[in-house]
């Protein structure tokens, strides 16, 4: 069996201790939560941290709750917790739809929201979801806490705005009345990474026009997991089939997918168009209170 190279191991009992350990051990230290992205990379010896700081004891970061007109999701929330969350089911159906196709149920018992976002895999579904919803990341260090818009969180493949001595502790989302959301993913097989995936939310005003919306894209090289040009094209209009088709076409054109064994570029672009349209259509229907 593949095994990781040697490393030192410490456990953090609190966020303060975790960031202190990070600060003390420098850039060769890595936080580990579920470990389902990091450990396979370490087994392949593509990742070789000198020290792992285990934050699985930070159960106080395992929560999904409403705070005023926002939802707060703790970084140590496991995928299974997101999938089962009543709060998210009420406000954002996109989460359950995305989570249901992330890895498999056993991996979801262990993998965390924070770990997935910080691994920053270009195919990560949750990155697309939070980008679609324009969440805000809360990042802690010894010197305090700062907020980063989720659309600025990812700075490149496997790179984030989280500094070497920082830790993502929470993601916050605005609650949007009269909105609906949805996630669409095509994979080669259950549990595989996306060939392409699209998530969306649509918020309607009293006249049925789109007051606000968000689009998230995974696995297709979309800047910051989204396509703002398509969002701008739709905002303020009605979610008609034609308008949605136009927005979907903008997404398909604007993304930069790479060919791999999941598919060639033309197919992935085509898929983006189909999935964006489906996600927007269902989001709008849900915003109208229809079953979708």
């Amino acid at each position: 069996m593949q095994v990781p190279a040697p490393f030192e191991y410490e456990r953090a009992a609190s966020v303060d201790e975790a960031v202190a350990l990070l600060a003390r051990h420098g850039p060769e230290a890595r936080l580990v939560a579920g470990g389902h992205s990091l450990l396979p990379m370490m087994k392949l010896r593509l990742a070789r941290p000198e020290m792992l700081i285990d934050i699985n004891d930070l159960s106080d970061l395992d929560y999904i709750r409403t705070e005023g007109d926002e939802i707060a999701i703790g970084a140590m929330t496991r995928h299974a917790g997101v999938l089962d969350s009543a709060v998210l089911a009420e406000h954002y159906r996109i989460f359950a739809e995305a989570e249901r196709v992330i890895a498999d149920p056993i991996v979801r018992n262990r993998g965390t929201v924070g770990g997935s976002l910080c691994q920053a895999d270009p195919s990560e579904d949750l990155s697309a979801v939070f980008s679609a919803l324009r969440g805000t990341a809360v990042i802690r260090s010894e010197s305090g806490s700062r907020n980063v818009e989720m659309r600025q969180f990812h700075t490149g493949p496997y790179e984030t705005a989280v500094g070497a001595a920082e830790m993502l502790v929470e993601v916050r989302l605005p609650i949007r009345p009269n909105s609906g959301s949805a996630y669409e993913k095509v994979e080669r097989r259950a549990g595989d990474w996306s060939i392409a995936a699209a998530g969306a939310f649509v918020q309607l005003d009293g006249e049925g026009r789109i007051a606000d919306l968000g689009i998230g894209l995974a696995a297709v090289g979309a800047d910051h997991f989204t396509c703002e040009e398509a969002e701008d094209a739709l905002r303020g209009g009605t979610p008609s089939e034609e308008a949605i088709a136009r927005a979907a076409a903008i997404c398909a054109e604007g993304c930069q997918p790479q060919a791999d064994q999941r598919g060639p570029v033309d197919y992935k672009r085509h898929l983006v168009g189909v999935l964006v349209a489906r996600a927007l259509t269902r989001s709008a229907a849900r915003a109208r209170g229809e079953a979708a």
Partner: protein, 163 residues
């Protein structure tokens, strides 16, 4: 090196280990509990599924160090002496295993499913075991085995309630 201690199948265990030791190796090599298998390196196959604090996890992608101070349960703990757990009985009655290699992981997943949902339908079962690969059965009889277990443990519970 570091010292870990954890309860495994109800018994306290302790060992001096390298921090990088995978939980599956702690169970198999350190403790000699070879009922837990491994089939891949990438947490795709689920042969290594055990419970950590009551939840199924893939022990090939979990460090033994992470389980320090926690509770682990493996296939060796399913039967109560000679008496098999209903999921074990179901797998036998419905021929839910052939080579037996994925079986321990499947059983741990199945037991956890029935603890959470004592009456799952076929779709629920298929989703629950979708992280456990089997190359022999085409899953049909595994699904039936879990249904068998659900029905029989419900009947058993009814009988016990009637006494």
């Amino acid at each position: 090196m570091m010292r870990v201690s954890m309860r495994v199948n109800g018994a306290q265990t302790e060992a001096e280990i390298e921090p990088r030791l995978l939980l599956v190796h702690y169970l198999r090599n350190t403790l000699g509990l070879t009922g837990t298998h491994w089939g891949c390196d990438t947490s795709n196959c689920g042969a290594c599924t055990v419970w950590l604090d009551g939840l199924p996890v893939k022990s090939c992608t979990t460090l033994a160090a992470m389980a320090d101070g926690h509770e682990v349960r493996t296939v060796e703990d399913l039967a109560d002496g000679d008496s098999l757990d209903p999921v074990q009985q179901g797998f036998m009655q419905e021929h839910g295993l052939q080579c037996g290699f994925c079986t321990p992981g499947m059983l741990m997943t199945a037991r956890a499913l029935l603890d959470r949902d004592p009456d799952p339908d076929e779709a629920t079962i298929r989703e629950a075991i979708s992280g456990n690969l089997c190359r022999c059965t085409g899953y049909e009889n595994i699904v039936r085995a879990i249904r068998w277990a659900a029905e029989h443990q419900a009947a058993q519970a009814r009988e016990e309630a009637a006494l």
